[in-house]
């Protein structure tokens, strides 16, 4: 249901913009025609799905949990750090924290796995090797300009 509402809002905003564009005629179809067509079809499909799900509610296979929020924060962190801190600093921080996050998730479900290995050892290995590996791949072999 939240997904349908999200898509619905997106489509309405899309349709409003599309209507504002020149529509043209059949010989010279304008830039607005095709987006209007798509969004009208989308609204119809969403309406059908909306009423269907109101009658028989569906349960999603997966829901947003705390790990997802941390991952979103990590991704935004990576994007913000990349150009200001440069390749190495942002790579190390992102890889280390993300690997720790996976370790945390593992321990959450399998208590017996807890320990230094999943929380410190593996994240360190991940951070160091992947930073080096990608640097070698992008910079040394293919000569890209990394930040």
């Amino acid at each position: 249901m939240p997904v349908i509402i999200m898509l619905f809002l997106f489509t309405v905003a899309y349709l409003v913009q599309a209507i504002g564009l020149p529509q043209g005629d059949l010989k010279n179809i304008g830039p607005g025609f095709y987006p209007v067509l798509l969004s009208v079809l989308m609204l119809m499909a969403l309406a059908y799905q909306f009423f269907k799900e109101r009658k028989t509610p569906e349960r999603p296979q997966a829901t947003v949990n705390k790990f997802h929020l941390v991952l979103l924060a990590l991704l935004s962190g990576l994007i913000m750090m990349l150009e200001s801190l440069g390749y190495f600093a942002s790579a190390l921080v992102f890889l280390l924290t993300f690997s720790m996050l996976l370790g945390w998730q593992l321990v959450e479900y399998h208590k017996d796995e807890a320990g230094k290995k999943v929380m410190i050892g593996l994240p360190l290995v991940a951070a160091l090797t992947i930073t080096g590996l990608d640097y070698a791949l992008f910079k040394l072999v293919f000569d890209f300009n990394l930040p």
């Binding site: 798509l38 499909a45 150009e83």
Partner: protein, 504 residues
């Protein structure tokens, strides 16, 4: 097709690129949740610096390796690495439980090789003719073909039709964002300067296959190595990968040919994909088989049919991309990207102007299947190690390499933001059974779909019947209607009835 192209292959290191591509594709295909599409998109920025043939051959290796790899983990631990492998898993895991994993692996590889080679031969033989024919295939015909591809992909890849439609429309809508190509008008930018340029394919692929998968990994209970090994039959200590004579006889020569033809034809049909090839060949083989009772209980015939077909599909799928410029799935779309990146334009002139590039690429399709069997004999007994790769190392690698690769390709942080948002949204959608394949195909085909519509209408002076007057276009529209009837109406009903029967 001249033998020159073979020579090029072995003289110029191409074989190394091919093998590298194959193993990368195989690995990504075999790890559940990762796909060959993702492998290609991770490598795409790197292909900027490669020579065009090296890049193309690498992609071919990934494509074939990915399709085959999907079956391997499925056979061993009952988790298909890729959707194309669903049938192989159905039969293969039964054999694994009987302690015969080596038989399943043997036949999945051997049939993959046969299918791949027959498909490649068909392609090499036919490409010239299709390419010449494409001169008669005009803009309205293209429109109808794209429409069919979109509809077929939607029908095949969605369990819930309405969700498939919504996913497809979302892909089409995202593709329409940007500066209009006909009238130089910016559209659908929501007032945000950053998306005036539109959303890029690489960004969508990274979002859909890398970022969304990482969110997905965090949503479920993580599998540990011992959980995975539990699914595998630990009594398996015999690894004899040679196909036996009586097994080959049981499958039969014509079964291989039949499945290859089915796979190849499914490949030519844009939008249908490997899963459909395998399913069709499996169903047909079952119909012809003398041992129907074995199907679903570990039938080698079933594995052979499915794997022959989905590998014969790969070279077939390249045909509409090369001749009409219409990619049928994400992998061929990315290969098309490599083409245009190096200034090669698909179409009727391609085989005349660029035979030196296309020729060796088709030879690559002929050689890769041999690698499948070679790698089985060399490394087959270690295949079980692949799904055991540590996720705390693997997923950071995937996430970071995807993001840094996207940055290297675009030099734009904005693309990274887009990829993250798209990844999260796609995760939300697929958690609710909205299929991602039609979404992606809608995004890929969206621009050429709209362009061919608008150009057709301009050519006909606004006459909609132009789509009915061309025999090719009319034929394709009728075919689309038939597909809708069988795949969209008949098939769900049949499945429903079957379910009701088994419930009673």
């Amino acid at each position: 097709m001249s033998f020159e192209y073979f020579k090029i292959f072995f003289e110029s290191w191409l074989i190394v690129y091919l093998a590298m591509g194959y193993f990368i594709g195989f690995f990504f295909g075999a790890v559940p949740g990762l796909t060959a599409t993702l492998a290609i998109s991770l490598l795409l920025p790197l292909t900027f610096g490669m020579e065009v043939l090296a890049a193309l051959v690498t992609c071919v290796g990934i494509f074939v390796g990915g399709i085959y790899g999907g079956g391997v983990t499925g056979i061993l631990i009952n988790i298909p690495g890729a959707p194309a492998a669903a049938i192989t898993v159905l039969e293969g895991y039964q054999l694994t439980q009987q302690g015969k994993a080596d038989r399943a692996l043997s036949h999945s590889s051997f049939s993959s090789m046969i299918g791949g080679m027959i498909g490649a031969l068909f392609t090499i033989f036919l490409i010239q003719y299709v390419s010449e024919f494409s001169l008669y295939f005009k803009t309205p015909d293209k429109f109808s073909l794209i429409l069919m591809a979109i509809v077929v992909s939607m029908l095949i890849n969605s369990k819930d039709m309405m969700k498939g439609i919504i996913a497809t429309l979302l892909g089409l809508m995202l593709a329409a964002i940007g500066i209009d190509t006909f009238d130089a008008v910016p559209r659908m930018s929501f007032g945000i300067e950053n998306i005036r340029e539109g959303v890029q394919l690489l960004t969508i692929v990274v979002g859909t296959f890398a970022i969304a998968e990482i969110f997905n990994q965090l949503a479920s209970i993580p599998l540990r190595a011992k959980d995975i090994l539990e699914k595998f039959n630990a009594n398996q200590n015999k690894f004899d990968f040679k196909p036996r004579r009586e097994e080959l006889k049981e499958i039969g020569f014509w079964s291989y040919v039949r499945s290859s033809v089915i796979g190849f034809l499914t490949g030519i049909l844009p939008g249908a994909g490997a899963a459909m090839a395998a399913l069709l060949a499996y169903a047909v083989s079952k119909g012809f088989s003398k041992r129907k009772n074995l199907f679903g209980k570990g039938s080698i015939e079933g594995i052979a049919a499915a794997e022959t077909a989905n590998n014969a599909m790969c070279p077939g799928a390249i045909i509409p991309m090369l001749t009409f410029g219409i990619p049928g799935d994400a992998v061929t779309a990315l290969i098309l990207g490599v083409f245009t990146l190096h200034g090669l334009v698909p179409g009727p002139m391609l085989m005349i102007e660029q035979a030196d590039t296309v020729g060796p690429m088709l030879i690559a399709f002929l050689i890769t299947p041999v690698l499948i069997v070679i790698s089985l004999f060399l490394f087959g007994r270690y295949y079980i190690k692949i799904p055991l790769v540590n996720r705390q190392l693997l997923y950071p690698f995937i996430a970071f390499t995807a993001m840094i690769g996207l940055y290297a390709a675009t030099f734009s942080l904005v693309q990274l933001v887009h990829a993250a948002i798209i990844g999260f949204v796609i995760f939300l959608l697929s958690a609710r059974n909205y299929p991602t394949v039609p979404f992606l195909l809608g995004f890929i085909l969206g621009p050429i779909f709209e362009n061919s519509l608008r150009t057709s209408m301009a050519l006909s002076g606004g006459d909609l019947t132009i789509f009915l007057r061309s025999p090719f276009s009319l034929g394709l529209l009728i075919l689309t209607a038939i597909m809708i009837y069988f795949l969209g109406i008949r098939l769900p009903k049949m499945l429903q009835e079957q379910e009701n029967e088994s419930n009673n």
